[in-house]
């Protein structure tokens, strides 16, 4: 069992010794049961850290913000940042390290192991409780969830509430860490790409109908992009307004700027946006499922990104986010890469 006391103690020590400037972790939200990201700077605040099945967020997203903040400041505090990570989040950090976006020395990684379980899918919990308001959710000793709601405590098997991504997760403990609480016991996953295989079994027309139906809903709020730890580009190709418009950009230059994607949420434009995002995440997405969780229209974006993770593994034998020393997927090649689709 991952022990929150161990984590708090370590956080307290790091902050007291001034080893880190702050720690990004999980705290209790204002509704009393959901976890929210918190930033703690004082040793006394370490007690605010929590670890429970609602810690769904991938906090490595905040590392991009930290990097920008440092670049802006005149005299930045160069001490490392502490960050609490689950197995999936640690893979995101591995990818960021592979891309040399962040430096290992700038991080103190506080790992927590999900062990036999993972985090919950809130929709499943709502269905399970049939309208009752949850008050607290904890990990049980046997890999179940203990849900407290309406004066009673019920044990729910992990399978019932676990987020879909957690059921296909191959990293139930952090792959990179400076401190770890919980066991490092690998959990067998029968079909890590089961959901994708089900999609692939459909006919081409059925898949088209599925994606058309889903992406038609997209309102282009870009929540998926904002929440994604991999979407850290300073300028996004789909924002034609943000494409390097400076004070001396002439009107003519602006008019002639290539608009790759229109801003209007039409289906054709939505497809270009989501395809571009998927391909940019190819070999980088570690399936933290944040895009899907943040999506207000519940578009199953995981299915797009996970597909490329599967292809990376099958075509190129590339496992995303496990090995810091390997180069990123599309900035390397092998002489014997498959080319059977080429005439």
């Amino acid at each position: 069992m991952a022990k929150i006391e161990e984590l708090r103690e370590e956080a307290r020590r790091l902050l007291r010794d001034g080893k880190v400037k702050y720690i990004i972790g999980y705290g209790t939200g204002r509704d009393g049961w959901r976890a929210v990201p918190i930033f703690i700077r004082q040793p006394e605040e370490a007690d605010r850290l929590i670890w429970n099945p609602t810690c769904v967020h991938n906090l490595s997203r905040f590392l991009a913000d930290e990097k920008r903040r440092q670049a802006r400041e005149k005299k930045p505090d160069r001490r490392p940042v502490g960050i609490v990570v689950k197995g999936c989040d640690s893979r995101a950090i591995v990818v960021l390290l592979q891309e040399k976006f962040i430096r290992r020395d700038d991080l103190v990684v506080l790992g927590v192991s999900c062990e036999k379980t993972g985090v919950i899918d809130e929709d499943k919990l709502t269905d399970k409780l049939k309208g009752k308001k949850p008050e607290k959710i904890e990990f049980g000793d046997q890999g179940e969830f203990i849900v407290a709601a309406g004066n009673e405590k019920i044990a729910v098997s992990a399978g019932e509430l676990l987020a879909e991504r957690c059921r296909e997760c191959r990293a139930n403990f952090p792959v990179i860490y400076d401190f770890l609480t919980g066991e490092k016991s690998p959990r067998p996953v029968e079909r890590p790409f089961g959901s994708i295989e089900r999609m692939e079994a459909l006919s081409s027309e059925e898949r088209w109908a599925f994606w058309k139906n889903e992406l038609e809903k997209c309102i282009r709020c870009y929540a998926c992009r904002s929440v994604c730890p991999m979407c850290y580009c300073d300028e996004c190709v789909v924002d034609s307004i943000s494409l390097a418009v400076t004070a001396d950009t002439t009107a003519e230059e602006k008019a002639q700027k290539i608009k790759w994607v229109q801003k209007s949420p039409e289906i054709s434009e939505n497809f270009v946006y989501h395809l571009v995002r998927a391909i940019h995440l190819g070999g980088r997405c570690i399936d933290c499922g944040e895009c899907e969780r943040a999506c207000p229209l519940e578009i199953p974006l995981r299915f797009l990104n996970k597909k490329l993770e599967k292809e990376a593994k099958e075509l190129f034998g590339y496992e995303v986010g496990f090995d810091v020393s390997q180069p990123p997927l599309i900035s390397c090649f092998r002489d014997d890469d498959p080319g059977d689709f080429i005439r």
Binding site: E205, W260, E269, F271, A278, L304, K307, E311
Partner: protein, 140 residues
């Protein structure tokens, strides 16, 4: 009488091999279908997946990417990068339900004018039964 559907193909040709190959087909007076809009790029490795999505978005019925044979790249390894990246693009387009025939890739050297015409002929033959590409096309 209805007119036969003529597909429009956007072909990204690398300057050093495929573009020269298409030139060779031209100067050799080889006949091939006029359905291609060739776009010369410096290297097949310089083709962003966005070019391909954008071509479909703007109404291409098929997209061809053609570069030097492996080992022949003017920049030594651009086509190897292209092979890896565009394989992913092809898989992704198939996955969302676009007909797999609509995106093709070929290696055509500067000496292979004949092969270039073959690639185009075959591509056009494959696209004709599919009809216009409307899935990713922008309306209006």
């Amino acid at each position: 009488m209805t007119e036969e559907f003529e597909p429009r193909i956007v072909a990204f040709l690398c300057k050093w091999c495929s573009s020269a190959g298409s030139d060779l087909a031209g100067v050799s007076r080889l006949e091939y279908p006029p359905n291609v809009v060739p776009i010369q790029v410096m290297c097949s490795g310089s083709i962003s997946p966005l070019y391909i999505f954008s071509a479909f978005n703007k109404g291409a019925d098929g997209v061809l990417v053609s570069g030097c044979h492996p080992g022949d790249c003017h920049y030594t390894k651009g086509n190897y990068y292209a092979r890896r990246r565009l394989n992913l693009v092809k898989k992704l387009l198939e996955y969302i339900g676009l007909e797999p025939e609509r995106f093709q890739m070929s290696w055509v050297s500067a000496a292979e004018g004949q092969k270039y015409t073959q690639v185009i002929k075959q591509f056009v033959e494959e696209l004709k039964p599919l009809g216009p590409q409307t899935k990713l096309r922008r309306n209006g």
